[in-house]
């Protein structure tokens, strides 16, 4: 559980340079989570990286989430300060029709493969990425399979019909 003073410190570090960018801040389970506006996300993360009070200099992970009801795709960034062992999660929302966000590789080299993964499975385009192509799936795949608009099962099968599975 992160102390209130630490949460306050993180939000004030963001607010001193990026006033009004935070949409929502609070604990999700036991993880301090900030929902921020999408435009300045890279600058905010760079600020948290450089600022002497926060020093979030390790990118634990980043990934996408599809919210089909809101027609939005969220990008989630999890940062870690290894010196003080504090973590923070930043979340931005992108329209599912055109999920485009600037690349984070300018701050963290580790973002390279993670952004390729987000592109591979969700179609999130990281502008300025040095090598934005599919990372895990076959390159001639036409869909972004982890979006909830696609059925999980392979649609090219003809031998598995509903009758055989009692559906």
């Amino acid at each position: 559980m992160m102390e209130a003073a630490t949460q306050e410190k993180i939000t004030s570090v963001i607010n001193e340079k990026f006033e009004g960018e935070i949409i929502e801040a609070g604990m999700v389970k036991d993880f301090f989570t900030l929902i921020v506006k999408k435009e300045k996300i890279v600058d905010i993360i760079r600020h948290l990286y450089n600022h002497s009070e926060t020093k979030f200099q390790y990118l634990t992970t980043m990934f996408a989430v599809h919210y089909p009801d809101q027609n939005q795709i969220a990008m989630v960034y999890q940062l870690h300060n290894l010196a003080t062992n504090q973590r923070v999660r930043l979340k931005i929302f992108l329209p599912a029709d055109n999920p485009t966000t600037p690349t984070l590789t300018t701050v963290f080299s580790a973002a390279n493969w993670m952004e390729r993964e987000a592109y591979d499975f969700y179609g999130v385009i990281s502008e300025g990425h040095p090598n934005l192509k599919r990372i895990l799936n076959v390159e001639d795949m036409l869909i972004f399979p982890m979006r909830k608009e696609y059925p999980l099962e392979d649609q090219t099968r003809e031998d598995k019909n509903d009758l055989m599975f009692g559906r």
Partner: protein, 184 residues
Amino acid sequence: MEAVSSQISVSEKPDGLEGQGFFATRLDKVVGLARKNSIWPLPFATSCCGIEFMATMGAHYDLARFGSERLSFSPRQADLLMVMGTIAKKMGPVLRQVYEQMAEPRWVLSVGACASSGGIFDTYSVLQGIDRIIPVDVYVPGCPPRPEQIIDGVMKIQYLVENESLRRRDSAEYKAMLNKYGIE
């Protein structure tokens, strides 16, 4: 010495004419007999079926009893491609290239539900059966199959190897079958 040799079983000789100092039989019977008992398998093991295959090769089940103890880790010297495990769609072209690199005559044994049909992985990333990209001779069901079942599959391959016509691989039907898979 006498006791050991009496424990060794020797293959039945094929039908033929026998007399003093000669034995005449059909060439394809002799070739089939030789091939059957010296199949070099190429293990293409990707998951848990591969673990069962390790048990099959171990001392307890011992595939050497069927003349297949010499695994070939190059497709160019292999007779039998044993596909054991889930084949992702991204692995498909690799498997196909391995098959294409094998010299004729070649056989394919598909071990387990995943290799045969995709198994439980009915999903966008998994090949729904290797017979979508290469021809398969024998399927072994199971998830994973026990070593006895794998041996049963190898024995069925042995039956095919023994009884295959020497001209089958030159036939128009065989070429048409390969063409259906887009090979040659």
